[in-house]
């Protein structure tokens, strides 16, 4: 059971309700009462779990979970007495079921007296603004959005509906759509790193663009996104960005991308849709990365990458080639001391 100091469990639910939520086929008692989610090895007869990885099949055969999400191919390995929710996507089913037991719950609408809110701000119904938050001139905040303590929304910023802006975030020059979550300590909309260099030193170029964030984007803690120099910096709908990521000015990121922590995307580079960028990778500027590209962890991408490719290494090349190089280098040094 999740720590009740931090999590409130919304169960119980009947097995058939969970089958509907997960779009899964129920094999077992439809009225069985399920009180919570749990992992395969921890779950009891009143809890629901999931099997998503062949590595855990053995644990699955010994599991005491009363109900379990499984792929059709492994359903026959279920232990005696376990009811099943059979689905081709057990992990997705688990995401939906766990979100039903533990939904993100917003507090009641409330504007703290100790928030610092400009008179020119427009705040819709159902908005929560906590003490210490700062809301600048002409800011617009949409229905149901939650601005947490000590977040700072600079002049003119717009935030859509049902967003969560966590503490210690700074937003400036930014327009955010609906259902967006910005995790704590993010810094979004500041100057891009642009300057002209000459005998008199480095002279900053005014960055005259904005940051545009699409629906249902989720941005990790302490991530930084610079506004555009004239074009905008754009994050497409549904994209998931992890912690400590840097997005440079004028970058355009498509829909449904996944960008893991410590990644840097240099200025003016364009990512298509559903691109995955592994942890600590870097992408040089002014590049085009096609749809569904996978960039391996720690890669250094210096050239355009065509749609559907998987690249790795530095300079990044097709991943299979990089693995060959690694193998070749190992052979060359094998046995020598």
């Amino acid at each position: 059971m999740a720590d009740s100091r931090f999590f409130k469990c919304n169960g119980p639910f009947k097995a058939h309700e969970l089958a509907d939520i997960a779009s899964a086929e129920l094999v077992g008692d439809k009225d069985a009462l399920i009180t919570d989610v749990a992992s395969i090895d921890q779950a009891t007869s009143e809890q629901v779990s999931f099997l998503d990885n062949r590595k855990y099949v053995k644990a699955f055969t010994k599991s005491k979970a009363g109900l379990c999400l499984v792929h059709p191919e492994v359903a026959d390995k279920a232990p005696e007495g376990m009811s099943l929710l059979v689905t081709a996507e057990p992990y997705m089913g688990y995401a939906k079921i766990a979100s039903t037991f533990y939904p993100v719950t917003f507090p009641k609408a409330k504007i703290s007296e100790r928030a610092n809110i400009s008179e020119t701000a427009t705040i819709a119904d159902g908005v929560i603004i906590e003490a210490g938050a700062y809301v600048g001139e002409n800011v617009i905040i949409g229905k149901g959005t939650w601005i947490k303590s000590n977040a700072v929304l600079g002049d003119g910023v717009t935030v859509g509906e049902n967003c969560i802006i966590h503490p210690n975030v700074t937003l400036s020059h930014t327009i955010i759509s609906n259902g967006v979550t910005i995790h704590p300590g993010c810094q979004i909309g500041q100057d891009g790193f642009g300057f002209a260099s000459g005998a008199q030193g480095h002279v900053r170029i005014p960055q005259l663009g904005r940051v545009l964030i699409g629906d249902h984007v989720n941005i990790g803690a302490a991530t930084t996104i610079d506004r555009g120099a004239g074009p905008d910096t754009v994050i497409g709908a549904g994209t998931q960005i992890d912690n400590i990521v840097q997005i440079g000015h004028n970058v355009q990121i498509g829909m449904g991308c996944v960008i893991v922590s410590h990644v840097g995307i240099s200025g003016s580079t364009k990512l298509g849709n559903f691109v995955v960028v592994g942890g600590q990778a870097g992408v040089a500027g002014h590049l085009e990365i096609g749809d569904s590209v996978v960039i391996a962890a720690k890669a250094g991408v210096m050239r355009n990458v065509e749609a559907g490719q998987t690249v790795g290494g530095f300079p990044a090349i097709p991943q299979w080639k990089w693995l060959r190089q690694v193998g070749m280098i190992e052979k060359l040094t094998r046995g020598k001391k």
Copy 2:
């Protein structure tokens, strides 16, 4: 036109005024009225643009910009009807012209009642301190400086004139000169990562130095700069530091350096003047990096580097050698499967 929610355009200006600002030679109507800046492909007849990169010469020949900064060598390619500002430094000229159309404008002096300011702080004329900012004991803030919401200036910190300290910055044990910008979420002056390790665990060494930041330094978002252990950590005048950079204790950085995002400079390393460090590079501790060195992106510098060298790879070697190694490794694995 830049989004007027965020940017206020200070035009129009006459062509000859812009020629003066950019120190460029005007070819065309000196009284032509220019209302805004724009990119080569977007600009209209009342806007000024610039050509800085041979890649865009084609777009230049078709551009509708009324006025354009160009290098003498490409001036002859200008389309009919376009006036020119001819200069050997078109990008620098653009920086100055764009800054004239869109200057950084400070608000009127104002100390918010909802800032938390120690009575022992000394605050000069023209200072702006926003709600939620914290100003500790004996802090000194110079003329015209702007402390934004929720920034925290610890006891004894000194900030010079005409600085901007963005939201959610923490400064401690730090002395800042004039004209410095610290972007949101920077953490400056905290303990360096110093400790003695033994049977009883890790015992922290008191870090008895400070951070000294020179005139016109610009530090990116969520960058961290540790104070010195006894010596100071020093950032030289005019240096530009990007986001998510880590500067370790006792590091000395010269003047006019450029440090790109995700770089780590380990403790006690010394960079000369005009050093450029590419994104995600790392420099080991106790090293000396000479003037005008260029460290390529993702490099790992383990030895001193002499002035004027360009190094790359890990361990870092002269960049041309690293490129040779990359080529050699590619040859070795070519055609094999």
Copy 3:
């Protein structure tokens, strides 16, 4: 002498007192009065220094320090007139002596009226809470702990005794033990990066665990630690984490580890005790890293590492092998242009 705007020197002390503190053998006048610490090359006759590195033996022979911590093996190189504190661990001795001259001093207990503190919070004696700090529902803060300006403690968070939570930190879903320091701008306890991906996009998995931080842990600036997905994310006692580190969900870190800046530890990986991870290294998920492993800077660890091993490179291999590979690659390209 350390800058008195920032540091208060608690001396003087007699030589024999310092010998006790450092568990060192005094050779010289036991009543000599020592006023401060200093480096070997700067110290005067009333100051104590230390020699820890053969590189500085020459400076040691010319040093004017009145008292110096030295290893027995180099004691005979001491200049005329210098008293010695002879110990096998001169750096540890210096840590303790410097901490005696410059202890971390907490202010008097005080709860600022301008802190935002929930009525349901439980705050022990001796606690300091500065203006702008936010303390959520049912938070528990132990004796003597110092919550600095603009830090945010989310609902249910527990902090032990004698901790320091620096400005602009966000804590949520976190339980902290005693004597812990969290440096400015840390973000701890937010959602782990977990989601199921399918035709409808990425659906976040509720992260139902917490972050547990052991006694005397020290976490650097702008570091991010995600809470667990159901298990907890755990940081063992005495571990030292540098700036801009990312710790993924469900990670378990043992006791006394050292994690240098820009490191990323991916989800569900387990580090034993006394593991050292060099700057900018990355460790893939679901791995086991044994006790006392050393991971070199910039390494990319893709497999389990047995206790006591030193690994480097990407993919990480035994460090001696990686050095061989570096040498081999250099030979292959030597002399070619």
